[in-house]
Symmetry: C2
Subunit: 220 residues, 2 copies
C-alpha cells in the first residue's frame, strides 16, 4: 500500500471508443450532415476497422440521441427540428439549474475551471467574428464545467449528452451576440463566486434567451 508518486490511470480506449469519438466529432462538426446515412462497411473501411466496432459505436450514439436508427434500414444523423432545439434547452435548464443549486449549497467549490472557460470565451469574442466556433466551444465548456462542479455523476452525464446536441446546432447556426453572451456568463460566474442565489435566475434567463435566439434567428 506504499504509494510512490501519483499516477493517473492509463487511458485504455478500445477501438469502439475511438470510432465513437471520431463519429461524434464528425457529426457535431457537421462533417456528416444531418440526415446522412451511416453505412457500416464504408465507415469501417474509412476508419480502418471492422464492422462490429462501427456498429457498437453507432448504437452508443443512438442512445445519446445524435443518431437515429431504423431496423433493417440503417442509422442516420438525427435531423434537428426547432422543437428539438427548444427541448434541448428545456432539458438543459432542468439539469443546469439543479447543478447551480448544488454548487450554491456546497460550502466551498473550486470554480477555477469556470473562470478558465470564461477567459477563453472572452478571448474568442474579442478576436471578432470568424471565431464563433471557438466561442461555441468555450460556451459549452463553461456550462459543462458548471455541472461538473455540482459533483453529481448523473447530472454530469446528462449534461454531456445535451452538450453534444447543443454543440451540433450551435456550430450549425451561430446567431451570437458576442458581448451579450460574455456578459451573461460573467454575471453568472460572479454570482456563483459570491454564493448568491441570484445565479439561478441569471442562468435561467441566459438559457431562455439563448433558446429564443436559436429558434428565432434561423432565417436571419
Amino acid at each position: 500500500m506504499s504509494e510512490v508518486g501519483t499516477f493517473e490511470a492509463v487511458e485504455r480506449v478500445s477501438t469502439t471508443e475511438q470510432v465513437m469519438r471520431a463519429l461524434r466529432r464528425a457529426i457535431v462538426s457537421g462533417e456528416l450532415p444531418q440526415g446522412a446515412q451511416l453505412r457500416e462497411v464504408q465507415l469501417a473501411q474509412q476508419l480502418g476497422t471492422g464492422r462490429s466496432a462501427v456498429r457498437e459505436a453507432v448504437r452508443q450514439l443512438v442512445q445519446e440521441g445524435l443518431v437515429h436508427h431504423e431496423v433493417h434500414r440503417g442509422a442516420f444523423v438525427r435531423m434537428f427540428t426547432p422543437d428539438d432545439i427548444v427541448d434541448v434547452y428545456r432539458a438543459r435548464e432542468a439539469v443546469e439549474l439543479a447543478a447551480v443549486e448544488l454548487v450554491l449549497a456546497a460550502e466551498s467549490v473550486d470554480l477555477a475551471p469556470l473562470r478558465a472557460a470564461l477567459d477563453r470565451l472572452r478571448e474568442a469574442a474579442a478576436c471578432g467574428s470568424g471565431t464563433w466556433r471557438d466561442m461555441a466551444e468555450a460556451d459549452i465548456a463553461f456550462h459543462e464545467a458548471l455541472v461538473l462542479r455540482a459533483g453529481s455523476p448523473r447530472l454530469a452525464r446528462m449534461a454531456a449528452t445535451l452538450a453534444a446536441e447543443s454543440r451540433m446546432h450551435l456550430l450549425a447556426y451561430p446567431p451570437y451576440s458576442p458581448q451579450r453572451n460574455v456578459e451573461d456568463h460573467e454575471r453568472i460566474l460572479l454570482a456563483l463566486e459570491q454564493g448568491s442565489a441570484e445565479a439561478v435566475e441569471l442562468l435561467r434567463e441566459h438559457l431562455r434567451y439563448s433558446a429564443r435566439l436559436a429558434t428565432e434567428g434561423r432565417q436571419a
Copy 2:
C-alpha cells in the same frame, strides 16, 4: 394520400432489443445480483442467441448506468453505494421538478395516467405488506407518467434511465411507510389538478423524504 383507418406502426423489435429488455428486467428484479458478471457466451446460450446481440444489449445497459464495464475484464451489474442512491434522487429532483413546472405551465394536460398509477398504488398499499413490489412499481409508474405528461422527450428519456436505477434499489430495499407514501402522491396529484404551484414543493419534499428513507433505513 387518402388515409383509411388509423393504424399504429407495428412494433418491430430486434433481437438486441429483446435481449436488452430481458437483461434489464433480470437486473432490476435482482435476478442478476449486484456485482454479478455478465458473461457473453453464457447469456447468449441461455437466451438462445449469438454473442453480438448480447454485446450490444450490454453496451446499452452500460450507457444507462445499470452495468459497469471494464476493458478485457467484462461487464458487471453495477454496485449501488449509498452515494449513488443519493445521486439518483438528486437527479430525479432535477428532472421531475422541471417536469412539474412544464405541466403547470401548459394550459391543459391529461392527468389520467397519473390517477391510474395512484389507484394502483392505493390498492397495493391496502393489500398490506408482501405487495411492496407492486407498490414500488406503481410508485415508479406515477413518477414516470408525470414526466411523460411534460411532453419533453429528453426529460422523459432521463426519467426512464433514472427509473431503472430507482426500481433496482427500491426492490432491494423496501423501507416503505405505505400510508405516508400514498398521501404524498395524492397531495401531489391534487395540486397538479388544481394547477397549484404548490405541487413543486410537495414533490421536492416527497423526493427528499424518500431519499432520506432510502439512505437511513438500510440497516433497519
